[in-house]
């Protein structure tokens, strides 16, 4: 705690405290001469009370001196500081202005967005700044240490600020501003953070970056040890009572629509605020309105609005879906629209190879439950191993996935056919079964194909099930990995093949409950990656009459059985999409993520033109010859991007993807002071919720705490004590008792 005096000259008045002493020493009253025979009584009294009298006199003298000294001190207006004061506003300042430019700063209240308010506050601060100051303006969306600008130039930068869908955390932005301010030679260092304190803008569990740059130790190490401390003010621009209705998520029933099949599109609408909200969700397909649905959402609740695309709305190519909220005006419009991009393609084809019909029956039923239907997402063909071996490679390419289901043996031609198919980018699912031949599957060609070497059949431990899903973000499982793992845990396993994963090639995707591999994958890199999935237990269930399934050598699991849940159906369906390469595409993303567009290897695109949603900017991209996908890294603008592939003969193919605002921005959850304590340290910042608080805090930081009122209180206290002491010491003596009474 340090102290300074606003009117230091007046503090000299403290010397007036000497007046009582001077009066006592030099201006003593000339005593009156009085004859007094009873001197003996006074002397006797003095013997006993001389010390007490002296103490009393000293106490009174001290009290009177204290009153004068305190009055002089009060006039000097002392102020206390918890740390080095900032000094008044006329001092040249290194000023850091950190602007939160996340989407939530678009929240409008009283015709002003949060960012507009932030700009107003910043202009106020800049207006008061001396011209010799340097200003470091940090936009949370822009990386790099800013250079110091004169106030006038900084004002122009502030005027040009806008919100950005893609942003970094403000923790990172603090490093930029601290780096600039800490190195500045101006005597006063202040940083203002203008933010709505949205939780999505901060990493609440991590300290702000760059705190070490302004820590006293770090400053001492710099060339001038007397560097000023940096004060950090956080100006909260959060609306006091936020209310927002948003489309938090757009959900499609599949990542890819199949020709002739409708695609389900749903809007998850959430309301934040104290009152229930009624809105209309409008559904647009390729910019044409296809439907609308009113929704009523309870305060803090959510509702789902479902739509369907027409069965046939344009075959092939890329299509754009858009959901819009309409109805009452919303203070935060950025999350009132969401977009999705999807492809429409012909039904995928899957070839099932099995020794007997029953071995392929369950997979066929899962992939193509109604072969008579006009619209089918997967068309299944079945064949026997012997017939398969006679197929031609060209014929096999028509299939997105091939299933080898409990096949006992496959001849070399068949294995070679499969190997070539996979190397060309095909997808193969192999399920080992009771009759699978160890020798046949251990041959030279199968060894090149399989992700694991077969060891032998075994009885699973009692109570065994599927166990851990190794990677929940694997495209085969994402985004339902957790639910899927729970379902797999319900599937009883009685027998299995023990395998040893191929070194550097085999990867376990699902294990049994005892850790043994259940599903393995092997990827063959190429222009189009081929994949092999190996199940070590059959994807079929043979009929069994034995009461104890463990004693039936033909009963290996209840995986396909509906009593074991939905994991079989989902995994079979997703396997075909995954092996066909559709699952890897990322056409509907959130701002900050990268879009991944699958390229047709036949098209041989030489370049791409990427056009932003507003059509104002176009960028040319060049594809990688080895990558079957085109990756667009973190596109910034919200909306539907167009991607035009240009082939060898300047033939163009229309593609595209959608970018949505981050879901977390819609929640408008605020940081609380404990969170800020974690970020800046308990005493590392001043938080102001409104302009008045901010001004008070700034004044306190600049000129400290005014001690005047406390001094006046102290003076009154000392005067009171002095009066009490004087009255006590010189109390009116009681009238002496009448003599003789």
């Amino acid at each position: 705690m340090e102290m300074s005096l606003l009117n230091a000259g007046l503090a000299a008045g403290a010397a007036l405290a000497a007046i009582p002493v001077i009066l006592h020493l030099f201006m003593r009253q000339t005593p009156k001469q009085v004859i007094f025979p009873a001197l003996q009584l006074i002397r006797e009294r003095q013997k006993r009370s001389r010390k007490r009298l002296r103490v009393k006199n000293w106490l009174l003298l001290l009290a009177r001196m204290a009153v004068l000294a305190l009055m002089a001190l009060a006039l000097a207006r002392p102020r206390l500081y918890s740390e080095t004061p900032l000094g008044d506003e006329s001092a040249p300042t290194a000023l850091g202005l950190v602007f939160d430019t996340t989407l939530s700063m678009d929240y409008v209240e009283k015709d002003k967005s949060r960012l507009d308010l932030a700009k107003d506050r910043a202009r106020d601060i800049l207006d008061r700044l001396p011209d010799s100051s340097l200003v470091f303006v940090v936009d949370s969306a822009a990386p790099g240490v800013p250079s110091g600008l004169p106030p006038a130039a900084a004002r122009k930068v502030v005027d040009g600020l806008a919100v950005h869908p893609v942003n970094r955390t403000l923790n990172a932005a603090m490093a930029q501003v601290y780096a600039g301010v800490a190195e500045c030679d101006r005597p006063v260092h202040v940083v203002y953070v203008l933010t709505d304190l949205a939780r999505s803008s901060w990493a609440a569990d991590q300290p702000a970056e760059g705190l070490d740059l302004i820590a006293p130790k770090a400053q001492a190490k710099t060339k001038s040890a007397a560097k000023p401390r940096t004060a950090t003010f956080i100006m909260s621009l959060a609306p006091p009572d936020p209310h927002n209705v948003s489309i938090e998520e757009i959900q499609t029933s599949a990542s890819m629509a199949t020709d002739g099949e409708p695609l389900g599109v749903a809007a998850l609408v959430r309301s934040q605020g104290a009152a229930p909200a009624t809105r209309t969700v409008e559904f647009y397909l390729d910019d044409k309105k296809r439907g609308e649905q009113p929704v009523t959402i309870t305060p803090g609740g959510q509702a789902l609005a479902r739509f369907q695309t027409p069965p046939r709305f344009g075959e092939g190519g890329v299509h754009r879906a858009e959901l819009r909220l309409s109805g009452e005006p919303d203070p935060y419009p950025d999350d009132d629209r969401r977009y999705a991009t999807f492809k429409v393609r012909p039904a995928l084809r899957a070839l099932l190879i099995a020794d007997s019909t029953i071995d392929s029956e369950f997979v066929a039923a899962a992939l193509d439950p109604d072969p008579t239907a006009a619209a089918r997402s997967v068309r299944v063909d079945r064949t026997r191993p012997a017939q398969f071996s006679k197929m031609r490679q060209d014929g096999l390419r028509a299939f997105s996935a091939v299933f080898l289901l409990s096949v006992a043996e496959l001849d070399d031609a068949g294995w070679a056919l499969l190997l070539q198919y996979v190397r060309d980018g095909g997808g193969l699912v192999i399920a080992l079964g009771p009759r699978t031949s160890l020798d046949n599957y251990s041959g030279v060609v199968p060894s090149q194909l399989l992700p694991a070497k077969l060891v032998g059949k075994s009885v699973a431990p009692e109570g065994a099930t599927f166990g851990k899903v190794a990677d929940l973000t694997h495209p085969l499982f994402d985004p339902i990995g957790k639910d899927l793992a729970a379902q797999l845990g319900l599937v009883p396993i009685f027998r299995r093949w023990n395998v040893s994963p191929t070194e550097n090639a085999g990867r376990v995707l699902i294990a049994y409950s005892d850790g043994a591999p259940a599903l393995l994958e092997r990827v063959f890199k190429g222009p189009r990656s081929g994949r092999v999935l190996l199940w070590t237990t059959p994807l079929s269930q043979l009929p069994s009459a034995a009461p104890d399934p463990r004693k039936n050598p033909n009963l290996w699991n209840f995986f396909p059985n509906p009593s074991s849940g939905w994991s079989f159906l989902v995994l079979m369906d997703r396997s075909v999409s995954y092996l066909a390469g559709a699952a890897a595409e990322q056409l509907s993303i959130e701002a900050g993520e990268s879009a991944l567009v699958a390229l047709d290897p036949q098209a041989r695109f030489s370049r791409f033109l990427l056009t932003s949603p507003d059509g104002k900017t176009t960028e040319e991209l060049t594809p990688s010859p080895t990558n079957p996908f085109l990756e667009v890294v973190a596109p910034r603008a919200i909306g539907q991007w167009k991607l035009t592939g240009i082939g060898p003969d300047n033939q163009t193919t229309a593609m595209g993807f959608s970018v949505n605002p981050p879901r977390a921005e819609s929640r408008l959850a605020r940081l609380e002071p404990p969170d800020l304590d974690v970020i800046f340290g308990k005493d590392g910042y001043q938080l102001a919720q409104d302009v008045q608080t901010f001004k008070d805090q700034e004044r306190t930081m600049r000129v400290g705490h005014e001690v005047f009122p406390w001094l006046m209180f102290l003076i009154m206290l000392v005067i009171t004590v002095e009066s009490v002491m004087a009255n006590t010491f010189y109390k009116e003596a009681k009238a002496p008792q009448a003599a003789g009474a």
């Binding site: 003593r28 009253q29 000339t30 005593p31 009156k32 001469q33 009085v34 004859i35 007094f36 025979p37 009873a38 001197l39 003996q40 009584l41 006074i42 002397r43 006797e44 009294r45 003095q46 009370s49 009298l53 009393k56 006199n57 010491f729 010189y730 109390k731 003596a733 009681k734 009238a735 002496p736 008792q737 009448a738 003599a739 003789g740 009474a741």
Partner: protein, 299 residues
């Protein structure tokens, strides 16, 4: 004290009477007049005093007038019953000649009081003597009860003047040696001296069988300390001075005076000595009443 005679009980009034015999007369008459409204109504020099009736007293001695006014039985005691030799012992120390702002010095107050008591005793046919001392006994007058004795006493009292230092204890020891018969010794002094020695002298007189009444006379200023601000106090006996802040020590001083008087009083009570604290602002009747009550209780 509205009556003409009673005004002479005030020190500031009696000072205007130059002749000591008249002073004594006026004081006693004023005192007697004051008694008319009291249980002592009817008190006169013809009898010495009243006392409460007790079993065995002659019923004819009951003063029915007093009974009628007070509803209490008082018996008249006549001089024959209370014939007691009295000595008026005057302190001649310089300090007794002091007053700060009163009409009478301590000595003059003491002399007036002694004269009044002498007057009262002579009129009761009690033999009265006078002794005056400073460092030793300077003047003495043998006790006698005849009318001319009053003139002698008053004449001697008028001649006395306080001066110089005093030695109360040794003087009292000397007085004790002088008294041969059991007497009533009335001491008029400010008792400023070695208290223990003075008390020892009192005890000696008391143990010799004498009754003792100590009229402890202080000046009004000594009793009430009316000074303000810084004062340099000087002892007129020793010329010693002391500088004090009167406001600061007033309370302490008064406490000390009370302690001083209380100490004498406590010792006197233990030794069955009548201690009468007075100061020069106190009316004489209080002193005389004290005497009378004490005598009454002693009878």
């Amino acid at each position: 004290m509205a009556g003409t005679a009673e005004k002479y009980l005030k020190p500031e009034v009696i000072r205007q009477v130059a002749r000591l015999d008249l002073r004594a007369k006026f004081i006693v008459e004023g005192f007697i007049a004051g008694l008319h409204a009291s249980p002592f109504q009817g008190f006169s020099v013809e009898f010495s005093e009243h006392r409460k009736y007790s079993s065995g007293d002659n019923i004819s001695d009951v003063d029915w007038n007093v009974f009628a006014k007070t509803d209490r039985f008082y018996v008249k005691k006549f001089q024959a019953e209370t014939n007691l030799t009295g000595y008026l012992v005057m302190d001649l120390s310089g300090s007794m000649g002091y007053t700060y702002r009163q009409e009478l010095t301590k000595f003059e107050y003491g002399v007036s009081l002694a004269a009044a008591l002498g007057y009262l005793m002579i009129h009761q046919q009690d033999p009265v003597g006078l002794i005056a001392f400073d460092q030793k006994v300077r003047q003495s007058l043998a006790p006698a009860s005849k009318r001319s004795q009053l003139g002698n006493i008053l004449s001697l009292l008028a001649r006395l003047a306080p001066s110089g230092v005093t030695d109360i204890p040794s003087s009292l020891h000397q007085v004790a040696g002088m008294l041969k018969h059991r007497s009533l010794v009335m001491i008029f002094s400010d008792l400023l001296g070695d208290r223990d020695a003075i008390l020892r002298a009192f005890h000696r007189l008391r143990f010799a069988g004498h009754d003792l009444i100590v009229f402890h006379i202080l000046d009004e200023a000594e009793a009430e300390f009316p000074f303000e601000g810084m004062v340099r106090l000087e002892d007129n006996e020793t010329n010693e001075t002391i500088e004090v802040d009167a406001d600061a020590i007033k309370a302490d001083y008064l406490e000390e005076v009370a302690r001083f008087r209380a100490a004498y009083k406590a010792d006197c009570v233990r030794a069955r000595i009548d201690y009468v604290p007075l100061h020069t602002g106190v009316a004489f009747d209080k002193a005389l009443m004290s005497y009378l009550l004490l005598r009454q209780a002693r009878a």
